[in-house]
């Protein structure tokens, strides 16, 4: 089981790195998807190895997928708006909250 968990951890770390580092807004969203997937792997692994009686983990993972999808939709809509207003989606330049 450990290998699955390790894999999930690495994937999650990669996703975090991407969120922190990407300048393109869509890039950030993609990294975010990676993180969701890492979490899902964890859930399913736990389900198989720790509590195989029910399929709670998998159900959870399904829900995660669905919600992640919804969230990606909304996020992309926002990105479209950003693009309209600032003619670019470089998050470094979207800093009107600056002091």
């Amino acid at each position: 089981m450990y290998q699955y968990l390790a894999l999930a951890a690495i994937l999650f770390a990669i996703g975090v790195f991407g969120v922190l580092t990407r300048r393109n807004a869509i890039g950030i969203l993609m990294s975010l998807e990676l993180m969701f997937n890492a979490a899902n792997i964890n859930l399913v692994a736990f389900n198989k190895f720790i509590t195989p009686d029910g399929l709670t983990g998998q159900i959870f993972a399904i829900f995660v997928v669905v919600v992640a999808a919804a969230e990606a939709v909304v996020g992309l809509a926002i990105v479209l708006l950003l693009y309209r207003n600032w003619k670019g989606i470089d998050v470094d330049h979207i800093n009107i909250m600056k002091w």
Binding site: V16, T21, K87, D90, H93
Partner: protein, 699 residues
Amino acid sequence: MLEKAFLIPLYPLFAFVVIVFFTRWKERLSSYISIAMVTVGLVHSLVVLIQMIARHGMPLELSRTFIDLPEIHLELGIWIDPLTAVMLMVVTIVSGCVQVYSLGYMHNDPRWSRYYSYLSLFTFSMLGLVVANNFFMIFIFWELVGLTSYLLIGFWFEKKSASDAGKKAFITTRIGDLGFIVGLLILMAYAGTFNYQEIFAKVTGGEVDAGIVALAGIFVFCGAVGKSAQFPLHVWLPDAMEGPTPVSALIHAATMVAAGVYLVARAMTLFAGSEVSSMVVAIIGLTTSLLAATMALTQNDIKRVLAYSTVSQLGYMVMALGLYGVDFARAMAHHGANFAEHFHSPGFYAGTFHLMTHAFFKALLFLGAGSVIHAVHTNDIRDMGGLARKMGITSITFFIASLSISGIFPLSGFWSKDEIVATSAGHPLFFVLTLLIAFMTAFYMFRLCFMTFTGQPRDQERFDHAHESPHSMTVPLMVLAFLSIFAGWTGLPWLKHNFATFVYHHEPYHAHANYLLMLVSTVVALSGIGLAYLMYYRGAISPAAIGERVRLLYRLSFNKFYFDEIYEVIVVKATLGLAAVLWWFDARIIDGLVNLAGWFTVKWADAKQLFDTYVVDGAVNGIGYVCLAGAWILRLVQSGSVQLYTLVVIAAAIGIVIYRVTPGGFLYYLAGLLLVALARLLTKMLASDRVKAEPKIEG
């Protein structure tokens, strides 16, 4: 009535109160009230005298204690003995005459009511002085008399000379009063009481040391020196002539100045025990008398002559009393217990008798002078002359008084002056000088008479305007003239009971007629009158020529032996100089200190203000500045970059996780974070030099 004698002083006091509070604006009423009260006092005094005679001179004492503590015992009371009774009569008679006289003399004066209120107050003070039974009380009234005399002398205070004279009188007598107080304190300290009789009992009983008695006597005499204008405190009396003439008559002839003599007579026991103090008294009396008589020779102001005459006569009285004391003390010393057989000094009798007679004829002289002044409006006798033709009553009464004072048989003055001469007979120097003084007295009095009333008028205009005075003024003159003639007959030596058996100190004195002395004194008096007659009536000897011959003496006499000038320098200038020095000290040093304190306070306030501005305000501002600086730095956290925020959140979450997992590793984590942050800052700073190739994405 005798027991109610304390009322006698209260009658004029009542008049004073009524006038001051109620009748100030009703002037004639004020004068009538005053005269009425004096008259009542006179009647009461007469009753007292009669009762006293009936009692054969047995004294009466009544007193009320008002402070009774172990340390001090003060009482108010009366002591009526023959001396007191006589004094009461003298005071009330003279005061009454003066008040009636003032109706005419002060006729148009705007401060009429005030004048009468002062007169009443004075009469009250004098009467109280006379009836007092202890030294404390007599001192109270002593001061009151001094006060009222100040008020009356300076009555016309618009004249600077008058107000100055009032001050001079008060201050000079005050100096004497200082000695008086010291004497009183000595008596209190050694005898433990102020009461006359208690003190005298202790003195005669030998409970008080003789030296102390002598000392006390001398100090008490100081008061008399001041009040009776003896040398050296005589300087105020001539200046006091600035007051209205009736005032001069009352105060400076008959009553106030007599208070000193009365005091010596009353306290004779103190003097009688000590030859030294008595001799002091006698010498001062003699000196005064001689000095004043010489000064009177050359004066041209009618009142001045009379003033010096008063001083001289008072000196006579004091000398007589002093010589009595000397004789008494000597007799006591030599003969011990039975000295009475060897003691025959008429001094006490002479002094007190002369006090009475002098009061009458001197008052008459002054009132007469006032009448003259009222008529010719001048005091200078050189402007007068021949007034006998115009002013009959005045001139006749004046002559009578002059004869009396010169000691011509059978007027009052003859009997009293004769006794004084007799007193001095036991002391050769005194005897000779006494006769000399008698000569001078006769001379200057008749010089005055002749220059004023006889001969040709030297100022015709004044002469033309002169007229006899109204009845209010002439009636008192006549009354006093009567007394000047006959009052002295109470001292006739052929009477079994006369003045001397009534008023005595230790034992009644039995006067006997010494015809030789009578002859000698008459000769002396007549020669004095004769010289004056020659010089001024007939003009046979020229006064100017004599004045040239003894030029120095003349100048000394005329300028009052420069006493006033000497005092001016010694006393007045010294006091003013001291006052100036003290003022300098106060203004410069004391005020300087105060100002320094003020300056210092101001500077201190400035320093505090500096402190407040820079330190306190600086601290307050500093805090604000630190806040601003901190905020300025902290705001850099808000970079507006969402990724930075995300980074922080994730780093913190991971930090917590690491902390829970490996507490030690957390520190490494923190360290690593710091390193990386620093590295980022460094790269950012270095990278900012390079030109960024990114185009701005603005659309």
